[in-house]
Amino acid sequence: MNQFQYSRPADASVAIKTLSKDQNAYFLAGGTNLIDMMKMGLVSPQKLVDINNLPLKTVSEIPGGLRIGALVSNTNLAEHPLIKQKYPLLSLAINAGASPQLRNMATLGGNMMQRTRCPYFFDLTMPCNKRVPGSGCSALGGYNRMHAIFGASDKCIAVNPSDMNVAMVALDATVHISGAKGSRTMKFADFHRLPGDHPELDNNLKKGELITAVDLPEPRFSKNVHYVKIRDRASYAFALVSAAVALEIENDTIKEARLAMGGVAHKPWRLTAVEMFLKGKPANEAVFKQAAQLVSNGAKAYEYNKFKLKMAPNAVLQGLKVASGLASA
């Protein structure tokens, strides 16, 4: 590891200022991703601005929803009584990720900033447009089992590894961001980017900006929800594909559906067309099967991830069945 300067401001404006003026400064929150990348030589910060003293660790009810501070740990979020009661999908998704130890360390904001697990991104000796723009994409013609089937570009086919993000997108969350020039908000669904010509950018956060909170809207999906995560071992593994499913069912009719997928794109992948298909239809297996058939529309697979074209709809179908009570988890 390189040597670096360390500071721990108690005030967000100081933290933001340091980051804005210093090209090679990084915020340090839970550290589960950043410290790993520092050890692997992927990043070599000259300054680490530890934000753990900032007052961003509370979950509070606000008019029309819930506000979650960016430094709330993944565990505290998943275990929070209000989350478990009103937004259980978020609990399920968070608990499907990483390990208890990592969830104790990782924060909401850090989870959003988590970088891809593409093996070529992590291997300094191999070309990667995300790590070194213009160097090429090794995954495109390489071992791309874990890679995207939606929204990829010829520059990058990596996926966002987070489970939490998938639920946040399904729940229509909103992100609060502070920067040197003031604060702004952004739909969670707009936070992460598709790779396009700039795979080095994972999200739309600008240099020096700090995620301060995420808002969840009024709870609508507290009952018929499920998070399906298909992976190579039963726990402590990234998703091959995952599906967050939230249904509002009234008299066996789907009033509203929210569907998002993980492990399939550079960002959490919302299945808007499938949601529209489901709206107003009866909650039964036949409808769910028809819906699942729409999931892979527009998908494109590579040499080693063709199975995802089938696994993605299967995951959604299983999610719909469990969420609606037609199957058990």
Partner: protein, 709 residues
């Protein structure tokens, strides 16, 4: 006086040290003036190093030395002579690169962090050469390994299966698997004149001693190896690796103690692995399920600089009675690090293929897989035409079938459901040679009546010392608390390397025999008849004889009787799996591991070892696969997040059942060994259960969800 007896379940004698963090592994010894070495990997896959720029690294803070082939101390054992050509990989001895990640430099600094940073500053230039890492592309370049052992085997007629009324002809693939013990490989070395002291992760301190002595051209007694606690190995520490020698080389060049710790990522290239293997099985049978021919071919990955071989095809020669059997074993040399035996080694690989094929045959015959095995039960070894020293495999079938609930198995695949889940049952069997090597043990009686026994064996986890204490307690008719056993020190009496499931058979026999010799010595001192059963107060005898202490060393080895028998441990593994038809996720619900491994010394630790082997087999079946990116000649998943070893959530309760009847031939205790057999057959049991559940025959491991949707 309470007596501890062979067969008792006994807690580990080193348990307290291990649960308090007090057990000291090789990297944890405090050595004054310690410095830290970090290896620099080659970034090409084949070729020649033309230059190495070490200036930036040498200027980095804390750096003491950068060792490369251009400045390394020449080691006598590395230089070829007319009589003795130098074989294999020798670090920093020449400019050749054989595989990606091969160390080309060793940076030593005052801290680990500084050495790690400086290692990134070393820049090599290369003359690259074409390389081959693609196993499948190079299959036609496979070769028969050197030495006579691997020539084709034919009994009766070759390929007789082809003319049988019912036949299976299939190919099975096992990917490369990494040992990945939890402890990283660590070596610390320091010199005092021409004597060197080494702390290293070793399954055999005497073997390590020989390797270091040979490399540095010094007498054996100048090399002191310590390896008291080993944090798992599974075969990765059977040999002395080149980087261990390099650590001592650096220590000599610097005149300071050097510690070298491999990174987890380096563990994927520098300390061996179970090689990628393709096996072709042909089975022919009569309609009533009698085998008429078995053909087993195996092709596995090896390195261009060293041949690695194992017994993947041997099981097909003797496990079942077939008048005709033939085997072929070949290797494919590639630009990769050399493999190493990994728990169960080739026998586990071979058993996966043979036992899968046998399962396929059972469905063709519409015959229960256990019945098929019974129909072809070998009452004597058909390969060597010798009687078994002992074999209770039929009992294994029976007890396992009862415990798993085999009666609930549906003979038609994909017809057994529990809710949404498909339920299946499978069996997989295996055999592993029961070995015994010469071994010594030294017993010391002190005036307090306590017994200490020493032998230069190892404990990579099975509980060696615990077993030895129990054997001694049994023979001496004493409570275990009064006995201690020490190991992992090359200065102790000779013992074989811990491998091939032979430690209790070999070292246990030495402990057994030294205790007998000691008893007789005590009887003699007390003026009693030899071999009498009389229980003496040893402290009193010692005192009466006016002796400060009593030491006795005994060697123990097998005799020629053993040549007249075929000696194996046998296993029968059963699995019950649930497969979700939509997600393809597999839940292993139950595993029953039944072994005939002769007498079991410590029921508690032996059960744990059996369970551990089953866990390893579940990894082999379901999660483990090292993937080579042949464009770069480098692994694409060489880390602990992307290479999946089983986690807690993958593993159900596992029942370990022992036949527990002593083998009358192999050794005085009658124990045949369980370390390897615990894994052999597990992968086939899972794969066969998955077929029974789903009707999907997976012939390429691991069985991941994508293969089942």
């Amino acid at each position: 006086m309470k007596k501890d007896t062979i067969g008792d379940p006994m807690s580990r004698v080193d348990g307290r040290l291990k649960v308090t963090g007090g057990a000291t592994y090789s990297g944890e010894y405090k050595v004054a003036g310690l410095t830290y070495g970090v290896l620099v990997p080659a970034t090409i896959t084949a070729g020649t190093i033309t230059a190495i720029d070490t200036k930036a690294a040498e200027r980095a803070p804390g750096v003491l030395k950068v060792i490369t082939s251009f400045n390394a101390l020449k080691l006598p054992g590395y230089q070829p002579t007319a009589e003795k050509p130098v074989k294999g990989l020798k670090l920093f001895n020449d400019d050749k690169v054989y595989f990606n990640g091969q160390p080309i430099a060793l940076v030593v600094a005052d801290t680990f962090e500084r050495a790690t940073y400086a290692a990134t500053l070393v820049k090599a230039t290369y003359q690259t050469a074409p390389f081959e890492t693609d196993f499948h592309k190079n299959l036609d370049k496979s070769i028969v390994p050197q030495g006579g052992r691997y020539k084709d085997y034919v009994r009766g007629e070759a390929d007789a299966y082809k003319n049988a009324p019912v036949k299976v002809e299939q190919q099975y693939l096992l990917p490369s698997e990494m040992h990945n013990p939890m402890e990283l490989h660590v070596t610390t070395a320091f010199w005092d004149g021409d004597k060197v002291t080494i702390y290293t992760k070793s399954q055999g301190v005497k073997g390590s001693q020989r390797s270091f002595a040979a490399a540095f051209g010094i007498p054996l007694e100048n090399v002191q190896i310590n390896s008291r606690f080993v944090g798992g190995a599974f075969g990765s520490s059977l040999r002395t690796w080149p980087h261990e020698i390099a650590t001592a080389q650096a220590a000599k060049m610097l005149g300071k103690p050097v510690k070298l710790t491999l990174t987890r990522e380096q563990m994927f290239t520098l300390v061996g692995y179970r090689p990628l293997t393709i096996q072709k099985i042909g089975l022919g049978a009569t309609p009533d399920g009698k085998l008429v021919g078995i053909t087993h071919e195996s092709y596995s990955q090896s390195a261009v600089y060293e041949e690695f071989t194992e017994n993947s095809v041997n099981v097909s020669r003797f496990l079942y009675a077939s008048p005709n059997a033939n085997t072929r074993y070949k290797i494919v040399p590639l630009n990769v690090g050399v493999p190493a035996p990994m728990r169960g080694p080739g026998e586990a690989t071979g058993s996966f293929a043979l036992e899968s094929a046998l399962d396929e045959l059972s469905y063709l015959l519409k015959m229960d897989p256990i019945q098929l095995r019974l129909n072809n039960y070998a009452d004597m070894d058909p390969e060597r035409n010798l009687p078994w020293s002992s074999k209770y495999l039929k009992e294994c079938y029976q007890r396992g079938a009862e415990k798993i609930g085999w009666a609930n198995r549906k003979s038609e695949p994909a017809t057994n459901k529990d809710g949404d889940w498909l339920v299946g049952y499978g069996i997989g069997c295996g055999a592993f040679g029961a070995y015994r090597s010469a071994s010594q043990a030294k017993l010391t009686l002190t005036p307090d009546g306590k017994i200490n026994i020493k032998s230069a064996t190892s404990d990579i986890g099975p509980g060696t010392a615990t077993a030895m204490v129990l054997i001694a307690a049994d023979v001496l008719n004493m409570p275990a608390e009064k006995i201690t056993f020490e190991l992992g020190n090359s200065a102790f009496p000779m013992a074989p390397t811990q491998g091939g499931s032979a430690t209790v058979s070999s070292v246990g026999s030495a402990v057994h025999d030294v205790c007998l010799a000691f008893k007789n010595k005590m009887l003699l001192l007390a003026g009693k008849n030899q071999n009498s059963d009389e229980q003496l107060d040893y402290a009193a005898v010692l005192k009466a004889a006016n002796l400060p202490l009593l030491e006795i060393t005994q060697e123990s080895k097998g005799d020629e009787t053993a040549q007249k028998y075929s000696m194996y441990s046998f296993s029968s593994h059963f699995a019950q799996v649930y497969v979700h038809p939509l997600t393809g996720m597999i839940k292993v619900k139950k595993v029953v591991a039944v072994v005939d491994a002769g007498k079991i010394v410590n029921l508690k630790t032996a059960s744990s070892q059996m369970i551990g082997g089953a866990v390893g087999g579940i990894g082999m079946a379901m999660t483990e696969e090292a993937v080579m990116d042949d464009r770069f000649g480098k692994l694409a998943n060489g880390n602990f997040a992307d290479y999946h070893v089983p986690v807690q959530a993958d593993i159900p309760q596992i029942d370990a059942i022992f036949i527990d009847k002593p083998d009358p031939i192999i050794n005085p205790i009658g124990t045949k060994g369980i370390g390897e057999i615990s894994l052999i057959g597990v992968a086939a049991a899972i794969a066969n259960a998955v077929y029974n559940a789903t009707g999907k025959r997976i012939r390429e491991l691991p069985i991941t969800p994508d293969k089942l949707i």
